[in-house]
């Protein structure tokens, strides 16, 4: 990989080589679309998209300069911010549609579960993919909004792919899943009880693209170009859902049939700062961070 001092290399065609760490899930479809549509090339950027598992590897990847940019969810970035990591958000990634009926994230329970509302989750075990992360925060908020005691919810860590089996086998009472597993789980008879991205926080920004402060300081033009290309890509994705469904099948193993059925996230160009602040406050309230993260410090404003 490259190093932090020299984040970009020129390719033969005079394009800047930019490496972006992504997670091969639905959420990053816009960047693939943008790459395909040439939005980046137009701005002198040749993209290299490196799939990873996010979190653990992506942040050090960016800090070490292996990635120029990476995709990560807002709670991880807020956490990193409170720990003093020099990260900067440069572009929106995904957001909730805000529509409880069709959002791409849900807490699912077995069909015969007594859990009917978010409040019923109190005292139950709920699977999340990572502790102290966006799932836990939003679910706890949803439980509280519904009048339940969120501190009694017992969270269990499980990878998304294992969750449908876990609720079917009764290993957990409920599981928080995102697409395509919402479709998978409901297809196997589970029932969605809470849309935890759509309901508790308005216009929730779920994930963003980020880089380091150093990158921002040393290559402001490149960052600008990246931001612009991302903005165009997000807009294009928002406008062309069929294209989106098509491109998903190219970089994941999701079958075209499933791709047709899944609920898509929203891809607004703008980050919803207010939702991020809410999340930051909730994280402090729930003891995930010791102090409230500084959202403004995290947002690249040039």
């Amino acid at each position: 990989g490259g190093s932090a001092d020299e984040p970009t290399t020129e390719t033969e065609g005079g394009l800047a080589q930019v490496t972006v760490g992504i997670i091969p899930i639905i959420d990053v479809a816009p960047i693939y679309l943008g790459q395909e549509q040439g939005f980046f090339e137009e701005r002198g950027i040749e993209l290299e998209l490196v799939p990873g598992s996010g979190g653990a590897a992506a942040v050090p990847g960016v800090v070490a300069g292996d990635f120029d940019f990476a995709f990560g969810n807002v709670t991880s970035l807020l956490l990193a911010q409170t720990q003093g990591l020099p990260l900067q958000i440069v572009s929106n990634g995904t957001a909730s549609t805000g529509d409880p009926a069709t959002d791409f994230s849900a807490v699912v329970v077995p069909a015969d579960s007594p859990v009917q509302t978010a409040a019923d989750l109190a005292g139950k075990t709920v699977a999340v993919n990572n502790f102290k992360n966006i799932g836990e925060v939003t679910i706890r908020k949803a439980v509280e909004d519904a009048g339940g005691d969120s501190s009694t919810v017992e969270f269990v860590e499980l990878p998304f792919p294992d969750m449908p089996a876990a609720i079917a086998n009764g290993n957990v009472d409920a599981a928080w899943v995102v697409e395509p597993f919402v479709t998978v789980a409901t297809g196997q008879g589970a029932r969605a009880v809470v849309r935890n991205f759509a309901e508790p926080v308005e216009d929730l920004t779920v994930a963003t693209y980020f880089t380091t402060e150093q990158m921002l300081a040393e290559n402001p033009d490149l960052v600008d170009d990246f931001q612009a290309a991302m903005a165009e890509s997000l807009q294009y994705a928002q406008d062309n859902p069929e294209e989106l469904r098509r491109i998903i099948t190219t970089y994941t193993s999701i079958s075209p049939e499933t791709a047709e059925q899944i609920a898509l996230p929203a891809f607004p160009e703008e980050i919803d700062v207010e939702s991020m602040e809410t999340i930051a406050e909730l994280m402090a309230e729930y003891g995930i961070t010791e102090e409230t993260a500084d959202v403004d410090a995290l947002l690249a404003t040039d």
Binding site: A127, F131, L158, A165
Partner: protein, 262 residues
Amino acid sequence: MNPVLRWGRTLGFALTLPVILVTLWWVWSADSTNYYAPPLQTILTTFGDVWFSERLRADVLPSVTRLAIGYTGAVVVGVGLGVLLGANRTLRRVTEPVLEFFRAIPPPALIPILFLFAGIGDTAKVIVIISGAVWPVLLNTVEGVRAVDDVLSDTSRSYGVTGAARLRHLVLPAASPQIVAGMRQALSISIILMVISEMFASTNGLGFSVIQFQRSFAIPEMWSGILLLGLLGFVLSLLFQLFERRSLRWYHGLRRSQRGEN
């Protein structure tokens, strides 16, 4: 040699290299600004804060319990199966590819399957430990059993030392140097698998804590956890050494006897 002196020497041998390495680390990291490689001083301070607390009971104890059960299980299964396979050529040939198949499957890929069959509780974690730590014991036992001296083997047969007595008096002692080598391997693998098993469906544990620290960017805390894992390994290996000295007393005596050392 007088026992105090001997203890001193042993301690000297055990500590010299670690002290050198720690010093090097200390100096090298003293003014590190690298976020992921904080100064050793920071790590050590954190170590005290993190581990000399409630966590010792809440996280270390459950981990060590699972470790103990898993390791014991691995040794029992490994030696049992190893003796069986080592002594029976046909059985060995039939099962070898299947065992090799399982051996090559990464535990993280195996874990979801385990969850299906064993649920997501401690049982699954113990099985994860067994499923990884059993191999060095198994392989070494098989090879040790196969390599039993043929004159000794003939002796046992002609004196009717067969069946369980053969196992107890011939096969196990003869294979014991190799079995012990396998058990030592298994010990550290068990610790590694304890951590891996706690990456999934956990709510407590040493490995769980390390992973959580890592994910929440609490890097000095994470390092302190890695240190603790190393210390755990070291302490367990000391205990193991005691066990090895006792169980292989004849072997070490034999190896030493003609070197003129005694």
